[in-house]
Amino acid sequence: MTTTVSTQGGPAVKPDRPTTSYFIGRPRYGEFAIRIFLRVAAGVTIFTTVGILVALAIPSIGFFAEVPFVEFLFGTRWAPRFADASFGVVPLVTATAWTTLLALLVAVPLGLGAAIFLAEYAKPWLRKVLKPILEVLAGVPTVVYGFFALQFVQSTVLREWLQLPTGAFSVLAAGLVMGVMIVPTIASISEDAMSAVPNALRQGSAALGANRMQTTLRVVIPAALSGIVAAIVLGVSRAVGETMIVAIAAGNQARLVANPLEQGQTMTGFIANAALGDSRVGSIEYDTLFAVGLLLFLITLLINFISIRFVRRFREAY
């Protein structure tokens, strides 16, 4: 055994091997084991995705055995715990759509404005000061945002100061605060995209007599568009999946939301609320959690892939 190893050792470069590979030393079984371990660690991420799919799909199969698929997707009454239970998911989806839309109305202008300022106008020292402050917004725990949405935005601003006809909860308060939460996501990715636009384009534009605003709006933003779209799409994904703000401030009555001053229950809000009650494993309440979770996961999966595609495109551009 040892003799074969020693004859194999040494600088045994075969001319037909690519020169980039390393010299063939004695076999190192320990290192082989380590490389297997590293590979398995990378595989854990795949395992997680498969685990999510299986964990959500199996109870969902049980759910759809009792509730017709069409009734779930298109039914407009969500009352899983009532005596005459009804499983139409449309009310949850409309509440999610409202909070997401309101969040985007706040986050897209603020996030893009901040990104343009940081990428195109701010001097390096100002950028160094402003970026960490914006990042703090992303670090505030969502439960603290929820507290702020309920105690300040809803009860003080909307009800006391603006005297709006709204109850203890509203989709509006949750959506507005969620928008602020998403600002750093949109700002930092769009800023990266704009900073990746070569300076030659800006100089060319300036040489033709454009001012900074014209250069930004007509040269930089079109050039960075795919990155900006990716940022917004990722913001949508975060808004759809956000749980604590809506669980605290949006209310917990599942009904069709026609007006943002009403309360409403989102998909995530339902999962969080339903999990508070103790549902027996295998019961219809338990399966309902996973059916809504599966829908949520598929929606965000679709959104994430759109975002990843756009990011790839802007990386390849220059």
Binding site: G25, R35, P59, Q203, M244, A247, A275, D278
Partner: protein, 304 residues
């Protein structure tokens, strides 16, 4: 004339992104545009300041050592967050032990060993990107299903919460570690290999030690995200009345964010003040962790 000249050379040297010359910068439209940009930043920062002021003002009546020493109670004047603080510490420590070695190993594989053209490795990369954007509550459902499958009756145990949070921050740690590994110049690797080290020896003795500051910063930031997370733990049933100190990975627990959620939902004003005071405590903890991460990055990061 001089200003335009310096602006142009400045922009060539990359000091200013755009030459700020006199050509139409003072037109009304351009000025309004600039004001709008400033406004968007000011609104975002203004909301942040309002949020901090709100929770400090609301919570000021409840700042006392009682928050650290007492257990939750039915009266806000006797209640404290001691089990929540200890529970957060247990859950975060368990999460760190479970997820940091795994995340570093996966990142080392992807960055140092993996053949980038191999379909498996490309799939893993895409998968990590997607996992980083999966809603946190879905990880709670995953852990719930997993514990149910194992037949665990009481799912509100430290290891269950740590499992959900570990899977949640694993992609974050992988992405941060890869970034840190990528910033180590390839000359270091080539030098090590030229001296006869194997690829693993190169990674273990040269690349990883140089990347430790970046990895530590990324890991601390990921753990601070886990510390503020409540949704997955809520799904696992962490919203319970805990009046004992958690004492192991199988112990029941509650965490700071869950405690804040609990108190926010009570009708009495006193509990809202407690929630605000606990929010301040949580924010201070997060600021300390982030400060530590930034300190490590600035102090130990090698500049090549």
């Amino acid at each position: 004339m001089r200003t335009i000249g310096s602006a142009i050379t400045g922009s060539i040297r990359g000091e200013h992104p755009i030459a700020g010359g006199g050509n139409g910068e003072r037109r009304p439209a351009a000025l309004i545009f600039l004001v709008l940009l400033w406004l968007s930043l000011l609104v975002a920062i203004g909301v942040l300041i309002t949020l901090i002021v709100t929770i400090i003002v609301e919570g000021q009546g409840q700042f006392s050592w009682r928050l650290f020493t007492e257990y939750p109670a039915s009266s806000p004047d006797r209640a404290g967050a001691r089990p929540a603080i200890l529970g957060s510490a247990w859950v975060i420590a368990t999460t760190a032990v479970m997820t940091i070695p795994l995340g570093i190993a996966a990142a080392v594989h992807l960055e140092e060993f993996a053949d980038k053209k191999n379909w498996f490795n490309r799939f893993v990369e895409l998968n990590v990107q997607n996992l980083a954007a999966v809603p946190s509550i879905v990880y709670g459902l995953l852990a719930l299903a997993f514990l149910s499958m194992l037949g665990v009756r009481d799912k509100n145990i430290v290891i269950g919460g740590a499992l959900a949070l570990s899977l949640l921050i694993l992609p974050v740690i992988i992405i941060a570690t890869r970034e840190a590994l990528r910033s180590v110049p390839s000359e270091i690797r080539q030098g090590s290999l030229a001296l006869g080290a194997t690829q693993w020896q190169t990674v273990w003795r040269q690349v990883l030690p140089s990347a430790v500051p970046g990895i530590a910063t990324g890991s601390i930031l990921a753990l601070s995200r886990a510390l503020g997370e409540a949704a997955p733990l809520l799904v696992l049933g962490a919203l319970v009345f805990v009046s004992f100190d958690p004492n192991g990975i199988l112990s029941g627990y509650t965490t700071l964010p869950i405690q804040i959620f609990n108190w926010t939902g009570r009708p009495q004003e006193g509990f809202h003040q407690l929630a605000a005071a606990t929010s301040v405590l949580l924010l201070v903890l997060l600021v300390v962790m982030n400060g530590l991460a930034i300190f490590i990055r600035n102090k130990f990061q090698k500049r090549w």
